[in-house]
Amino acid sequence: MRYIAALVLCGLALPVFADKAAVEGLRVYLDEGRYRVDADVHLTLPPAVREALHNGIALVFEVRAELRRENIMIPDSLVTQHRRRYRLEYRPLLERYVVTELGGARTVETHLRLRDALKAIGRIRGWPLIEKRQLDRSHTYYVRVRGELLLTELPLPLQLHAYVKPSWWIATPWAEVPLR
C-alpha cells in the first residue's frame, strides 16, 4: 500500500520538490529500548521566497517524522509521529536569520547565513518515536521523514499568491526507512 501511496504522492508532488529539497541521512536506531530517528532535511528557498523573507515575511516550516504500519488492503496507518515547527525570519537590525522553535521549547537561534538557518531547521537528532515494546511484531513498520513550508502560516494576502505559485511549494519528498 505504501508503494502505491508513494507513487501517487510522487506524481502529485512533482513540482513541489524543487531546488533539490531532500532528506538525507535518515537513520532509525534503538536507544535504551526506544526508537529514535536522525536525519538532515535539506530545505532550500527559491529567490522569490528569499525575497519575501528579506522583506519581513516570517516563514514557518514543519519537519515531521512518522512511524507507520504497513497494511495490505487498506492505506497504511499512522502509529505515531514527531513534528516540530520552526519560524524563520530575517532581522534587518541584526542582519541575521532568527530561527525560533514554536511550541513548548521556543528556543531561539540566530544565524548569519540563511543556509545555516535552514540547516538548523532540518537537523533531526535523536527524535524519539516509540518504545520497542509497544510495537506488534506481526506487522511491518517504517519511518518516514519530510520537511515543508507551511503556506497556511503566511500572511493572508500572501497565502493565495503562494498557493498559485509553484515556487512557494517548498517541501521534500517523503524519505522512508523500514523499521528493523
Binding site: 525575497e51 522583506n55 532581522r91 537590525l93 537561534e109
Partner: protein
C-alpha cells in the same frame, strides 16, 4: 411556493459569505485561517449560482423558441433587473478598485522609507558602539583569564561578571566543552552556547560580537572570543559573555526594528494585498451580481407565473376543457385575475353542461321523431326555408318509389322536379300547390307511375322556422276498395233487384205469345212473335249480365289447396290452342315453379279471363301471339304469371282504371272480365297490373304468394 424559502436561504448564505469575506479582507485574525475555505465556499456558491442561472437561462431560451406565453416578458424583465443591479455595482466596483489602488499606494512614501532606513542605520551604529565597548570589556576579561587555571575559572568568571556587567560568562574548552560558567540569577540554568558557525569563526582566532534575540523577545549582546593560551593554560579556550542591552536602547531599537519590519512587510505585501482585495471585491461583486441575476429570474418567473397559468388555462378552455381551474396563490391584481378566470370557466362549464343536457334532450327528441317518422305509414316530406329537401321518410320513399332517398336530401326541390318517375311528378304537383297555399293546405295529388296511378292525400303546413312539411297518404287502395265495394253492392242489387223480375218477364212474354199467336192474323202474329222473341232474347241477355255480376260479387267458397300454376296454364292454354283460329299461343314456363295456395277453379277462371282478354285484344289480325310466362320473383316469395299479346295495347288513359267494371276498350263482353280477375287475385293475396310493352302490345301480370 418552495421558491421563497430557497431564495431566503440563499440570500442569507450570500450575506454570511459576504460578511466573512469583508472580515477577512479587514485582516480579522480569527478569520485568517478560514480564508481559503471561505474562498472555496464562495467559489462553490458561485458555481451553484452560475448553474442555477444557466438552468434558468436554458429554460428561458427553450420557452422563447417555443414562443411560450410570457417568455419575452420574462426575458425583458430579467435583463432590466440585471442591468439595474449590475450598472451601479459596476460603478462602485471600478470606483472601489481605484480607491483601493490609490489607498494602498498612499501607505508608502519614499521619504518614510528613507527615514526608516536611516533609523535602522542609526540603531545599528548605536548598537555597534555599545557592542564594541562590550567587546573591549570582554577582551580585557579574556586577557585576565589567560593565566587563570581552569580550576579557578569559576571564581574568576564571577569576579569578571561583576566588573563587566555581563549576565553570563562561560569559559569553553576544546569541542565547546564548558570549563566554567557564571550566570546572573535571571539567566537560564544552562549556559546558552554559541552556534557552530560562531565557534568555527572563533576557532580561526576571530572575535564575534552580535545581538541575540531572547525567547522573551528582547535583545542581548553575545561576545565570543578566543582566550589566548598561556603557560598556565596551554590549550586554546573560548570565552562567551552575554550582556543585556540597556533598556532604553533596547526599547528604541526594537521599535525601530518593528517599524522597519512592518514597513518592509507591508511594502512587500503591497502587490498581493491589492490582488487579495481585488479578488475579494471581484468575488463579492460577482456573487452579488449573479445572485441578482438569479433573483431576477426567480422574481420574473414568480411575477409571470400567473400569466403563464392564465395562458395555459386559456389554451385549455380553447380546447374545450372548461373544468380547468387555476391555482390562486396570491391576492394581488394577478391573483384576482386568476380568480376571475376561474369564475369565468366555472360559468362556461355550467353553460356547456346545460347546453349538453339540452343537446342530449334535442337528440333524444330527434331520435324519437326520426323513429316516429321512419315508422309512420304516412309519407313525410319537408323542405327547408331555402326550398331544399330536408326530410323524406321511408314511407314517403316507398310511396314515391325512391330507391335511395339519401341522395335526394339537401338538393333543391326545383331541381328534383327533373328526376323523373313518380317522385318528380309528386314534387312538380306539390310545388305548384304549395306556391298558392297559405299556412296550411290540403290537396289530392294523382301520380302516374309504372305500376299505375296513385292517389295521394296531402296535408301541408308551413313551419314556424321557415320551410314546409307535407304529410301524405297513399289512398289509391282505399279509393279502389271503396269503388270495389260500390261495384259489389251494385252487383248484389242487380242480382237481387233485376234478376228476380226477369223470369216473370220472360215467362209472361212466352205466355203472351202462346196465348195470342193463334188468335191473331198472320201479320199481327208475326209482330207478336218478333216482339216476344226480342223480349225473351233481351231477358236472356240481361240474365247473362246479371249472372256475370253475380260472379263478380260472389264471395270465395274456400276450397283452397296447393295448385301447380304451370299445369293450370298448360290446361287452359290447350283449350285456346285448339279454339283460336288465328292467334298462336306460346308458353314460357319456369321449371321449378312453386305451388300457390289457391282455389283452382277461380284461378282457372282468372286464366280464362286473361286469355280471353288477350285474344279479344288481338281480334281478327294475323300473326297474333299470346305469350304466357311464369316465373318466381321476390326471392321465391311470389309466383308471377304474365299474359302478353302483340295487339294494339291499352290506351294510356285506361291503364289505371282497367280493372274496374265496365272499363273496356272492346265493343264486346260484359266489361267485368278484368274486374273479376283483380277481385280473385286480391282474394288470394296477390296483385295484378297491366302495362304496355315497348315493342307493342300489352301485358297483364299477376303475382301470387308461393305456398310455404
Amino acid at each position: 411556493m418552495y421558491r421563497l424559502p430557497l431564495f431566503a436561504g440563499l440570500f442569507v448564505v450570500l450575506l454570511v459569505l459576504l460578511f466573512l469575506m469583508g472580515q477577512v479582507a479587514g485582516s480579522a485574525e480569527q478569520f485568517e485561517r478560514y480564508y481559503i475555505v471561505l474562498l472555496a465556499a464562495n467559489g462553490v456558491f458561485l458555481v451553484v449560482l452560475v448553474l442555477a442561472i444557466g438552468a434558468n437561462a436554458l429554460r428561458l431560451v427553450r420557452r422563447l423558441l417555443q414562443h411560450a406565453p410570457g417568455s419575452h416578458l420574462t426575458l425583458r424583465m430579467t435583463l432590466a433587473f440585471v442591468i439595474f443591479a449590475v450598472a451601479p455595482a459596476a460603478v462602485v466596483y471600478v470606483f472601489s478598485l481605484q480607491m483601493l489602488e490609490r489607498g494602498i499606494d498612499s501607505w508608502f512614501d519614499v521619504q518614510v522609507e528613507a527615514a526608516l532606513d536611516d533609523a535602522l542605520e542609526l540603531s545599528r551604529a548605536s548598537l555597534d558602539l555599545i557592542m564594541r565597548e562590550y567587546l573591549q570589556d570582554t577582551v580585557r576579561a579574556a586577557r585576565r583569564l589567560e593565566r587563570v587555571p581552569d580550576s579557578a575559572a569559576v571564581l574568576a568568571l564571577s569576579d569578571l561578571m561583576k566588573e563587566t556587567g555581563a549576565t553570563e560568562l562561560t569559559l569553553l574548552g576544546a569541542n565547546a566543552r564548558i570549563i566554567a560558567s557564571s550566570r546572573d540569577m535571571a539567566e537560564s540554568l544552562v549556559p546558552r552556547l554559541p552556534g557552530e558557525a560562531v565557534l568555527r569563526l572563533v576557532a580561526q582566532g576571530e572575535s564575534y560580537v552580535g545581538l541575540d534575540p531572547t525567547p522573551e523577545g528582547s535583545l542581548r549582546i553575545r561576545v565570543v572570543l578566543p582566550v589566548a593560551p598561556s603557560t598556565v593554560n596551554p590549550q586554546a579556550r573560548i570565552l562567551q559573555a552575554l550582556y543585556p542591552l540597556p533598556q532604553r536602547i533596547g526599547r528604541l531599537t526594537e521599535r525601530v526594528q518593528e517599524a522597519v519590519g512592518r514597513y518592509d512587510q507591508l511594502s512587500y505585501l503591497r502587490g498581493p494585498l491589492k490582488q487579495s482585495f481585488m479578488l475579494t471585491l471581484s468575488l463579492v461583486l460577482l456573487l452579488a451580481v449573479l445572485f441578482a441575476a438569479w433573483a431576477a429570474f426567480q422574481w420574473a418567473q414568480r411575477l409571470l407565473e400567473p400569466i403563464r397559468e392564465l395562458a395555459r388555462g386559456t389554451r385549455a378552455v380553447a380546447e374545450g376543457e372548461y373544468d380547468q381551474r387555476l391555482s390562486v396563490q396570491r391576492l394581488d391584481d394577478l391573483g384576482l385575475l386568476l380568480q376571475s378566470f376561474n369564475e369565468m370557466t366555472e360559468r362556461l362549464a355550467e353553460a356547456r353542461e346545460a347546453a349538453k343536457t339540452s343537446q342530449r334532450l334535442v337528440e333524444r327528441q330527434r331520435a324519437y321523431l326520426e323513429t316516429l317518422l321512419e315508422n309512420l305509414s304516412s309519407g313525410v316530406v319537408s323542405l327547408d326555408p331555402r326550398g331544399r329537401l330536408r326530410t323524406l321518410n321511408r314511407a314517403a320513399a316507398q310511396i314515391l318509389g325512391v330507391d335511395a332517398p339519401e341522395r335526394l336530401i339537401g338538393r333543391p326541390a326545383e331541381e328534383l322536379r327533373g328526376e323523373g318517375g313518380a317522385f318528380a311528378s309528386f314534387m312538380d304537383q306539390l310545388l305548384e300547390n304549395l306556391r298558392e297555399a297559405d299556412e296550411e293546405c290540403h290537396m289530392q295529388l294523382t301520380l302516374q307511375g309504372e305500376k299505375g296511378r296513385k292517389i295521394l292525400m296531402c296535408h301541408g303546413v308551413r313551419l314556424p322556422t321557415g320551410g314546409q312539411v307535407i304529410v301524405f297518404d297513399d289512398v289509391t287502395a282505399l279509393i279502389q276498395a271503396q269503388r270495389d265495394a260500390a261495384w259489389a253492392e251494385v252487383a248484389r242489387r242487380l242480382a237481387h233487384e233485376i234478376k228476380n223480375p226477369l223470369t216473370p218477364i220472360q215467362l209472361s212474354a212466352e205466355r203472351l205469345r202462346r196465348k195470342l199467336l193463334d188468335r191473331l192474323d198472320e201479320d199481327e202474329g208475326r209482330i207478336l212473335d218478333r216482339a216476344t222473341q226480342t223480349i225473351v232474347a233481351q231477358v236472356e241477355a240481361m240474365k247473362a249480365m246479371v249472372n256475370a255480376f253475380g260472379e263478380y260479387a260472389r264471395r270465395p267458397r274456400g276450397k283452397v289447396r296447393a295448385v301447380d300454376v304451370n299445369q293450370l296454364v298448360r290446361d287452359v292454354a290447350e283449350l285456346y290452342r285448339a279454339n283460336a283460329a288465328r292467334a298462336r299461343v306460346e308458353l314460357e314456363l319456369a321449371p321449378d315453379l312453386p305451388a300457390v295456395q289457391a282455389d283452382p277453379d277461380r284461378l282457372r277462371q282468372v286464366l280464362h279471363n286473361l286469355f280471353n282478354n288477350a285474344l279479344e285484344a288481338l281480334g281478327e289480325r294475323d300473326g297474333g301471339v299470346v305469350r304466357v310466362h311464369t316465373a318466381v320473383v321476390e326471392e321465391g316469395g311470389l309466383v308471377e304469371v304474365a299474359v302478353a299479346d302483340n295487339g294494339p295495347g291499352i290506351p294510356e288513359e285506361m291503364l289505371d282504371r282497367l280493372f274496374e267494371p265496365y272499363v273496356t276498350s272492346k265493343s264486346r263482353g260484359t266489361g267485368l272480365g278484368l274486374a273479376i280477375v283483380k277481385k280473385i287475385v286480391e282474394e288470394h293475396g296477390g296483385t295484378v297490373w297491366a302495362e304496355n310493352l315497348p315493342q307493342g302490345g300489352a301485358r297483364l301480370v299477376i303475382r301470387l304468394p308461393a305456398a310455404r
